[in-house]
Amino acid sequence: MRTFAVLGISCWSGFLLMALELMSGRILAPTFGSSIYVWGAVITVFMLALSIGYLIGGRMSMSEPRIAVLCGLHLLSGLLVLPILFFELPVLDGIFEYTQDPRLGSLLSSVILFFLPAAVCGTVAPYAVRLLVKDSQAAGFYAGLQYFFSTAFSAAGTLLTSFYFVLILEVDQILMLLIGVTVFMALSAFLISRKSTP
């Protein structure tokens, strides 16, 4: 049951990350365009955020790893999407006032809007691996399992968002959907794991 909960969080965390990355291009386009620089900036910031998140998540998993913490991290990654809904326009307008260069502008905007949620998504992966691994012999197997689920759902998040969600929902509605499901997944994983380990 615990494994199931950890993998569930891994799946949705992967979905959230890529759906958010796709939406971030959409969010920046009205201000900085959709040139190759804008996508380059978005991908750079997401990769950087993930790499730092991995480092922090790995570090955190060293002391008393608990599923409650994993649920907390996942919840936090979803809640950190919330400020985008409220501050996206003032942030983008402010940065455009400061610089009209699409490279610097989109890098700065991506850092301010997307760095934190993406970094916290990154912490989930190593922490989840630590919770899955029962003996060091099987560490690689569980790491592979975690990568498989999170990355397969990243693919799903990319495809569903770009082919379907954008046809029926507005950008903000997609973000709200992502936040809602993240909160739901974090809470249900927490409850499931509590039930199975009294």
């Binding site: 900085f32 365009g33 610097l104």
Partner: protein, 305 residues
Amino acid sequence: MKFCAMKFKVALACLAAVALTPLPAAAELKTIHSEKSLYRNIFVTEDGDLRCLTFRRATAGTRQTCFEKSDPQNLYFPYARMMMGALYLNPNPQRILIVGLGGGTLPMGLRGFLPDAAIDVVEIDPAVVKAALDYFPFKEDANLKVHTDDGRVFVKKAIKAGTKYDLVMLDAFEDDYIPEHLLTREFLQEVKSIMTPGAVIAANTFSSSGLYPYESATYADTFGKFYNLKAANRVIWAQNGELAPQSTLDANAKMLEPAFEKRGIKSGMLFLMLNGSKDWPDDTRVLTDQYAPSNLLNSRGKSNR
């Protein structure tokens, strides 16, 4: 940043250096220039007297623009003539903005009629600018400048600088790709805000695809009534303020006739395509920065094209 820019330039140079193997094309079609740019494959092809700029593949199906070497003044494609027809609404614009360069047909066409107008052209792809300068009868002058920028960003900068235009031409769509942020209510409102009172906007788009009603509703939302010209392409003529009546168009057409005829533009042909009435459902959703699945909508009903 500097380091990033340098690395980027190196990557750019590598990209540019990749020689393209010419694709198999019709026997008489000669590829005289090909380049893989940051955004697309660019081909300049020649078929006898006709030289064309083509994106993606060196076939006639994806031609962006063409000119006849023996008669470079003649506007070869109907869409270019339809765009020029926007002068019927205001025959003497002093400041002009063109989004999307292609082979430079529109700026050079306008320059022919309006020797003193200040023309700003925005083109996102530096390789297209180079191709237009090297292979097409396009050249900059003291009052005609190309800016390598995203159209939306350029308009935002113009708002900040307080620059206004009497004529705006939007020609940034490819055969099957639409920059989605250039077809939203917010973008059109930004464009409207840099237009002088009575200024004209002409947009070159698609005549039949699932996008048609959405695009129509979006233009109507910002500009109200507009003229619609439908052929293989679709061109929209709209105005910031009251739309000029047909009688004004007729009068201006008469005045422009001698100059227009030399370039193959016949008002009779254009007025045949002209339609001012609404031919899309009332409840069509307006495209916005929040909702802009233009490419997905455009690929629907493609078989009708």
